[in-house]
């Protein structure tokens, strides 16, 4: 049964991934005017127009280009960067771990904030604690990450003369320093996501707390802590965990800002630089990797949902 459900989800994911790949492929070709002329005018990417056109494969019909590109992608070839002249796959492979690390740490921060605050907020609905938690959560959703980052750099410097260390520390050189430098960026990244998840946790928990089995638990004379933690939270957290998947695009989007502000050499920063330099193979490659990752993680999360919640119908 489970296998059939997963197969069905996989079947639904494939067309989404294909459409996404079409979007990724079409984007650079939407440019008004001739891409090639523009690229040549901006940066000396190649000797002449025909050479660049042939290099980008732009001299063939669009559907042919798309199928060819997909075929290359399937073989793990994302082309080479117009700027560094190195294979895009290699470039991404170097930078993806940093972005993944940042995203995972950010997610951890988000969960550490979201679950306890959400539980307190729901258990004490419409009290001062609830109002404060909800207001702070909305504030967390409202404050731009790049500003929060600036504040956290400026204010300690003004108040205590402390400035965060700049420059990137490799894991192999100094593991503790490597993780330590990611903590502040991850915390900022986690705040907005944590705020969204906190609201979800609260909403789900409030719904569960109205269920009959919770009333039965109260009637049995169980303590509040047992009811909250054992009966309510376990059921409320399942959809929250699965909704982590939908938060992934937001986290990865956030890394673009965070990596730029803190100068971390991750994949999102690489994408941002590529956008500034109009390095189309890199833009395409990173977009494709990001979107595939998100679709795959969502698929995994769906599977997890089916495993975690025995009530789900396959």
């Amino acid at each position: 049964m489970l296998r059939r459900y997963l197969a069905k989800r996989l079947l639904v994911a494939v067309p989404s991934l294909l459409i996404a790949s079409l979007i990724v492929f079409t984007l650079p070709r939407l440019i008004p005017g001739d891409v090639v002329v523009l690229m040549l005018a901006e940066k000396a990417y190649a000797k002449d127009i025909d050479e660049l056109r042939a290099k980008l494969g732009l001299d063939r019909p669009l559907p042919v280009q798309y199928v060819e590109w997909l075929g290359k992608v399937a073989r793990g070839d994302l082309g080479e960067s117009l700027w560094t002249k190195r294979p895009v796959v290699e470039e991404i492979g170097q930078r993806l771990p940093i972005t993944s690390e940042l995203a995972l740490l950010g997610l951890a921060v988000a969960l550490i904030i979201a679950i306890p605050v959400g539980v307190i907020s729901a258990a004490r609905q419409d009290t001062i604690a609830d109002y404060v938690a909800r207001s702070v959560a909305i504030l967390g959703l409202s404050v731009p990450a790049f500003w929060l980052a600036t504040l956290l750099i400026v204010l300690p410097a003004i108040w205590w003369g402390w400035r965060p260390v700049t420059g990137f520390v490799e894991f192999s050189r100094d593991p503790i320093g490597h993780v330590a430098q990611l903590l502040l960026p991850a915390a900022i990244l986690g705040i907005a996501v944590g705020a969204a998840l906190m609201r979800l946790t609260r909403g789900m928990l409030l719904e569960v707390l109205r269920q009959d089995y919770v009333r039965t638990a109260w009637a049995k004379g169980l303590g509040e802590r047992v009811i909250l933690m054992k009966h309510a939270l376990r059921n409320a957290v399942i959809p929250v965990v699965t909704l982590l998947g939908t938060q992934l695009p937001q986290i990865i989007g956030g890394t673009v800002i965070i990596e730029t502000v803190f100068g971390l050499p991750g994949m999102s920063r690489f994408l941002f630089d590529a956008i500034n330099q109009r390095d189309y193979p890199v833009i395409q490659g990173v977009n494709l990797v990001v979107v595939s990752l998100i679709v795959l993680v969502n698929l995994a999360v769906d599977a997890l949902y089916a495993v975690l919640d025995p009530r789900i119908r396959y």
Partner: protein, 308 residues
């Protein structure tokens, strides 16, 4: 269906009644507002912030003591004072004036983006939810694909292609916000389509157009209003991020996000007010729309509570 009452003595006698009804309608609106303030104090706070933002955007010329790109002699990077409430920047421009004019950028982008997004989302969401079938399946796969892109990544990629500028910011943000919202509107539409009054309308022989315009749209309107309010906050936040990254409204026009990058960051240790006030403005504006949207959701559509 409404029942028509004929006025036997002509229009003149009906007039006071209409005026009375109008007066009571006015009183009812006031009463509803008072009830909203009492029941949703945080939502009311949000409404106040939103109104203040709109006033700043509309009356920028009157509220700002200086022009947004006016250099004031001998006032380079002055801290906040009575003469310059929020200080001055590295080009001797009054920060308060720039923030007031910046509200105009945020509100313009917000309203234009959300207007376009809501139109798109309603068209896609309602048609997809109402007609269902293969059409729904295909449309939803396209929406799925859009939703699996991080908005900043896709918007930046689009901006790389289209180039920076107000119109391009609006277009690219609108498509993303529309994709998210169309999902919610589709859900609401499916709910309404399954009600007995839609079934009754169909049994009476109403066409698709009449059912959609008279029965479905009015019933998903609350959802659309809530999504639009929250969408305004999202759009303003996204615009500020794009401006911060250098893909927004080109200088010297003051966008809050752009004020925080470039010189705002270069001089952040020497003139911290340059890096603080624009951020306060963005946060307050987005906070206002989010608070108002949240409260509206609780009041207008209890089914959506806790969703986001």
């Amino acid at each position: 269906m409404s029942i028509q009452v004929e006025a036997p003595h002509g229009v003149s006698q009906a007039k006071p009644a209409i005026e009375r009804a109008r007066a009571s309608a006015g009183a009812q609106v006031l009463l509803a507002c008072a009830r909203f303030v009492r029941r949703k104090p945080l939502g009311a706070l949000g409404a106040v912030i939103v109104v203040a933002l709109l006033v700043m955007a509309v009356f920028a010329e009157r509220l700002a003591p200086y022009d947004y790109d006016e250099s004031i002699r001998g006032a380079r990077m002055k801290p906040p004072s009575a003469a310059h409430w929020l200080g001055t920047d590295n080009l001797s421009r009054d920060m308060w004036s720039r923030i007031v004019y910046g509200a105009r950028v945020s509100v313009t982008v917000g309203v234009a983006t959300v207007g376009l997004a809501v139109l798109l989302a309603t068209a896609v969401g309602v048609s997809s939810g109402y007609f269902g079938g293969v059409y729904d399946l295909i449309v939803q796969r396209v929406v799925d694909a859009w939703l699996s892109f991080p908005y900043l990544v896709i918007v930046l990629s689009v901006m790389a292609v289209l180039g920076p500028g107000l119109l391009n910011v609006v277009l690219s943000l609108a498509v993303i916000i529309a994709a998210v919202n169309s999902r919610v509107i589709r859900g609401a539409t499916i709910g309404v389509t399954q009600t007995t009054y839609v079934e009754a309308a169909r049994a009476l022989g109403c066409g698709h157009r009449r059912i959609i315009l008279r029965h479905i749209l009015p019933n998903v309107a609350a959802t659309v209003i809530i999504l639009a309010t929250i969408g305004l906050g999202t759009a303003i936040l996204a615009e500020s991020a794009l401006s911060f990254l250098g893909f927004g409204v080109p200088p010297p026009y003051p966008a809050w996000g752009a004020m925080l990058s470039g010189s705002g960051r270069t001089y952040m240790f020497r003139a911290p007010w340059m890096a603080i006030w624009p951020g306060v403005a963005i946060s307050l504006a987005v906070f206002g729309f989010n608070m108002l949207g949240d409260a509206l959701r609780d009041v207008l559509d209890p089914r959506l509570r806790g969703a986001r």
